[in-house]
């Protein structure tokens, strides 16, 4: 087992820089999720750790070893690909054994490991089948089996669930988490799905445009997002933003409403409030003109605009609430649920 250390890692294709100064220390046995919108460089980062992409500058350590110039096969890693990349002409057992065969492990040892991995993943009865005879979920298991038999220091997952249907995805997500906890292998998992990221990761690395926006636990990211991007990316429905002017311990909305300010700051700022933190309060400072209502059963989403302003606002009310479009509702939010961001830098303003 080993941790991973990324030191000032950058990647350029010609003159285009796609990753900027990535830093990160990953502990032994940790499950890290790299999350971000498509094109943010998350797959490139994973492939650099795997050794499938060269490192432009900076260093990658696995354990104590610097692996920049090592071939993927010598990095002691295993990777699960988005399209599984199973060898179509080999049976399930041969697929899992191939890497071990190349490393010239003795035959009984290979058989033992394949059998063991097949038991863990419950694919024992498919060992003689070809990948094309398996369903998507079974192929996914075989791909993981191929990673497990190698007994590597690190698992790398490149959006492994994106080819599965929604129900199977939820089920496999839990299985991957359980498996990782059981084996205790350091894992890095790339996804664009924030729910997947929140449920799987011990810590999340949020990437945007090649920069690390924030690296922390799911709860940290949810409760104290470091930037407007993280605040908007994590959580569903997305956080509400409105421009405010801060002065003398209060925030003034464009329509004149006044909210107590959680930080000492004065000037233009961006106020963020999560829909689920808004509570109905007839005297609340945020007055919402209702435009549309979504009844989800467990909660009710109220869409609308702030009275006298153009900013859209979504509030999540518990249970089933009967609200008519056109009504005006008052909302307030507790001080610790107000997130204030610098308008220029888009960074969080701390007290």
């Amino acid at each position: 087992m080993a941790g991973i250390n990324l030191v000032d890692l950058t990647k350029s294709y010609g003159d285009t820089r796609v990753l900027h100064h990535i830093e990160g220390a990953i502990d032994d046995g940790e499950f890290i999720v790299i999350v971000g919108p498509s094109g943010c460089g998350k797959s490139t980062l994973l492939r650099m750790i795997a050794g499938l992409e060269t490192v432009t500058s900076g260093e990658v350590f696995i354990g104590e070893r610097k692996v920049n110039d090592l071939e993927p096969a010598h990095r002691d890693i295993a990777m699960v690909f988005q399209n599984y990349a199973l060898y179509p002409h080999m049976s399930v057992a041969q697929n899992m054994a191939y890497g071990l065969k190349i490393r010239k492990l003795p035959k009984p040892e290979i058989d033992r490991r394949v059998r063991e991995a097949a038991d863990i993943l419950e694919i024992g009865e498919y060992l003689d089948r070809k990948p094309r005879q398996l369903s998507g979920g079974q192929r996914q298991r075989v791909a993981m089996g191929r990673a497990i038999v190698r007994d590597p220091q690190v698992f790398l997952f490149d959006e492994p669930l994106s080819n599965l249907d929604a129900k199977l995805r939820v089920q496999m997500r839990l299985e991957i988490r359980k498996l990782q906890q059981r084996l205790g292998v350091t894992s890095i998992y790339v996804t664009h799905d924030q729910v997947e990221a929140m449920t799987l990761g011990d810590r999340l690395m949020v990437l945007n445009g090649g920069y690390v926006e924030q690296f922390g636990t799911p709860v940290e990211l949810y409760q104290r997002p470091a930037s407007v991007f993280v605040a908007g990316f994590i959580g569903s429905p997305a956080m509400n933003f409105m421009t405010v002017t801060a002065a003398n311990g209060t925030l003034t909305l464009a329509n004149g409403a006044i909210i107590a300010c959680p930080v000492s700051y004065s000037g233009e700022a961006l106020l963020g409030v999560r829909p689920e933190n808004l509570t109905a309060d007839a005297d609340g400072p945020m007055r919402l003109v209702v435009e549309m209502v979504e009844q989800l059963g467990a909660n009710t989403l109220v869409h609308g605009r702030l009275e006298g302003m153009d900013s859209e606002l979504v509030a999540s009310l518990p249970g089933i609430a009967n609200v008519d479009p056109g009504a005006v509702l008052g909302f307030s939010a507790p001080g610790d649920a107000l997130h204030l961001f610098d308008t220029q830098m888009q960074k969080r303003l701390e007290p």
Binding site: A50, A73, A78, Y98, G99, R103
Partner: protein
């Protein structure tokens, strides 16, 4: 077509039947001619039904030195020559094309695309175009009247290289990456992954190239002067000319039948793979 018009059905069948007759009749006549004796074949009208001399003719043709009174080698030797040439051409073409396509698709080296286009423009230079310089080269290398001389000048193939390139391009990159993580080197990847995945394409190409090699006429005619190196396709022509009186049609037709046999066997035995190789795109 789901039309149900009797006249159209009749017409399409008529065309089909005529087509079958046009193709099958010459083969039937060949077969009939090969089953009569020499005397019967010299009489008019020509027989349309098989005679009783098939086995006798087969034996004389294969082992009897072909035509009586000429120095032509026995037909079994010519069959063997043709087989050797066709096998060397098809196997050689396939191995060289596989390797060059592998280099072009999976390795980054300077002038990679230039190499590809160089190979590609040799499509414009078949043997017939470069026949004099090629003959000169083969003669200087002392390869006249040898299997090497028969096959090597025909071995390079732009078509096959191009085809394997297209096949390799359809194999997802992850397959290579996965093999790299598994620790497979380039040649290991080639043997363990690429070859099995292009199995059907190799078979399809083998069928086409075997027939191409088997039917070579101009090139073997030029470089083989020794009767023991003659290929069967050429021998048929030689038999016609060598006859002092009238041609021995029964023997010549038997030789033609024997010449048709191996390509037919290859096509029939590899038919399933052949069709898969030309139609299957799923990897």
């Amino acid at each position: 077509m789901v039309e149900r018009r009797p006249f159209v059905a009749f017409l399409t069948h008529l065309v089909l039947v005529l087509g079958v007759i046009a193709i099958a009749l010459p083969i039937w006549i060949t077969f009939v001619a090969a089953s009569h004796n020499e005397v019967r074949m010299a009489q008019v009208p020509l027989p349309l039904w098989p005679g009783d001399q098939l086995w006798v003719n087969l034996k004389t043709t294969l082992f009897g030195g072909g035509l009586s009174g000429t120095e032509i080698a026995p037909v079994w030797l010519m069959l063997l020559n043709s087989l050797a040439m066709a096998m060397m051409i098809s196997v050689g073409k396939i191995s060289i094309s596989l390797l060059s396509a592998f280099a072009i698709v999976y390795f980054k080296f300077p002038f990679r695309m230039a190499c590809f286009w160089l190979i590609f423009i040799t499509l414009m230079l078949p043997v017939e175009v470069r026949i004099l310089p090629t003959f000169e080269v083969v003669a200087r290398l002392g390869m006249l009247n040898s299997y090497w001389g028969l096959s090597i000048p025909l071995i390079a193939s732009a078509t096959a290289t191009f085809m394997f390139r297209q096949v390799f391009l359809t194999i997802p990159d992850e397959m290579l990456e996965s093999a790299r993580i598994d620790g497979a080197g380039p040649m290991r990847f080639f043997w363990d992954i690429l070859l099995p995945l292009s199995r059907t394409n190799i078979a399809a190409l083998f069928v086409i190239l075997f027939i191409y090699g088997w039917n070579q006429y101009l090139w073997p005619l030029l470089i083989t002067t020794d009767p023991s190196m003659t290929t069967i396709v050429i021998s048929i022509k030689q038999m016609l000319e060598a006859a002092e009186q009238s041609p021995q049609w029964n023997i010549i037709m038997m030789t033609a039948l024997l010449a048709m046999l191996p390509p037919i066997l290859v096509v029939i035995s590899m038919q399933k793979l052949f069709v898969q190789g030309l139609t299957e795109t799923d990897k």
